[in-house]
């Protein structure tokens, strides 16, 4: 019983917090203390968001911009996973590869993904290639690191047992090493998706001519704060959806493995 009251209380307080936040925001912009050009009210932002769903701004509607962004993101993310995960696994299994690649990787890791923008633009242009490279730069390291950790920290007893039973090498890989590293890989993918999505936004702010980031830059250039805020909302929603989907996949895989064992 007290637990239920506690729950109700925290829900109520949560709504109160949200109401306070929105009320303060609305109050600030309605009172005229802050120019609405500077801080539009939440209602105005929502109105703008819904018009952007249908009316074109910066060359396309908001859903079309989002689709362009998402296409880039998907390419960059898939490329990062397709190269990063095998590389990480191989580094975890073969010490010599680890020793050769790690110093290069450690050096590159400290370059912020966004710092690749000039070379990306120079090598692949500002259409789709450049932004894909930036997303790749953001999403690649977590794929490698988590696959590496997953491969490296497999319980040695499992491998020893398999060896003792005379399991051939390729079966040790497919039946022990690979499955054992899946959870770590999946959580790496979640981090990757977040960083990739954020890098995409950065890339689009700087070089692209479509996409949500571009929409926001144009909003900024036209001093349309509502457009900028609508873009932020859209980016936040897509990021949240991505994270939720991967979290769901993570849980499903864990559950299935739980059943198998």
């Amino acid at each position: 019983m007290p637990k239920r009251i506690d729950f109700m209380r925290s829900v109520l307080l949560g709504f109160l917090g949200l109401a306070l936040f929105l009320g303060l925001w609305h109050g600030l912009s309605a009172s005229g203390m802050v120019s609405p050009l500077f801080l539009p009210s939440p209602v105005e932002v929502l109105e703008r968001f819904s018009t952007l769903l249908e009316r074109r701004f910066a060359g396309a509607t908001l859903p079309a911009h989002l689709a362009a962004s998402f296409e880039r993101f998907a390419y960059g993310f898939i490329l990062a996973a397709a190269i990063g995960i095998p590389l990480g696994l191989l580094m975890g299994w073969f010490q010599i590869l680890d020793e050769i690649v790690s110093p290069i990787f450690d050096g590159l890791r400290f370059i912020a993904p966004i710092a690749w923008v000039p070379f990306a633009a120079l090598w692949f242009g500002t259409g789709i290639g450049g932004p894909i490279m930036i997303i790749f730069a953001g999403a690649f390291p977590p794929c490698v690191i988590n696959a590496y950790r997953g491969a490296k920290f497999v319980d040695p007893r499992l491998i020893e047992a398999a060896r003792m039973l005379g399991t051939p090498n390729h079966r040790v890989i497919t039946e022990i090493l690979l499955p054992a590293s899946v959870p770590s890989i999946i959580s790496g993918l979640r981090v990757s998706a977040g960083l990739g999505w954020q890098s995409l936004v950065g890339a689009e702010l700087i070089v692209a001519s479509t996409g949500v980031g571009y929409l926001m830059v144009m909003g900024q250039a036209n001093v349309s704060t509502t457009t900028v805020m609508s873009g932020m909302i859209a980016i936040g929603l897509v990021g949240l959806a991505l994270d939720t989907a991967l979290r769901f996949a993570e849980r499903m895989i864990q559950r299935r493995r739980g059943l198998e064992v």
Binding site: D6, R9, S10, V11, L13, G14, F15, L16, G17, L18, F21, F38, I96, E99, I100, V101, S102, P103, I104, G107, L108, F110, I111, A112, P113, I114, A115, W116, V117, P118, F119, A121, L122, W123, G194, W197, Q198, S199, V201, G202, L205, I206, G213, M216, V217, G219, Q220, V223, T225, V228, M229, G231, M232, I233, I235, G236, L237, G239, L240, D243
Partner: protein
Amino acid sequence: MPRRLTIGAATILTLVVLWFLVTSVLGLIAPGRFPSPQATIAALDHVLFRGYAGGTLVEHVVNSLRLVLLGFLVAIVTGVPLGLLMGWNRTAEALINPVFLIIRPIPPLAWIPLAILWLGLGDGAKIMVIWFAAFVPSVINAYAGVRTIEKPVLEAAAMLGTPKLRFIVEVLVPAASPMIFTGLRLSLQASWTTLVAAELVGAFYGLGRVLNVAQQDLYPGMILVGMIAVAILGWATTKGLGMLEARALSWNQAAALAGKG
């Protein structure tokens, strides 16, 4: 691990030789796409002594470093106490958490256009986006840190009637500090990424500005110099934080031991 070190050094050396071979000797990569070692050194000399994009390398570095540290400090000072408060006080948690959950999915880079609209291209906008980038991990980890404190510790402190201020200084902060430091490391990385992005979008000084101007001038040597500078600064500040952490946490361990004795 001398073997690891030798192989690492050999790898880096091989890479440098390869770099020299494909750019200068064999000319496999056009100088307009990727600079040769000589061109990179010439660019370094250019920015170090004659200045580029409005200042010398030292001036750009000082400016970027100053902004990162300022934004980072403001984020710590505001974020850590908020996280501690949310972890400690149920009411505060219930009140603030929903607002936080709504703002959190918006990546820090997406705040850049809004920051420029609000504060222009100067230092204020940079500090605002860095603050935002570093604020979220600071809050989350301080909050999680308090949550990891074992209940008996809190109950013992309450039973002994520890005054609030002493409770915060001697129980809450030390017990949460490992997690707080994890948060700070994430915050610092996010700060660098965000600053470079913000400076690429628009700035008067800084390493991002160097990258931006070099991209427009099609000056690959300078792009590489800018990227290396970003990487070195990111590495150095992370290292500095790590040293601070080792010192703070060793004190913590000593205190815990003294408490036991």
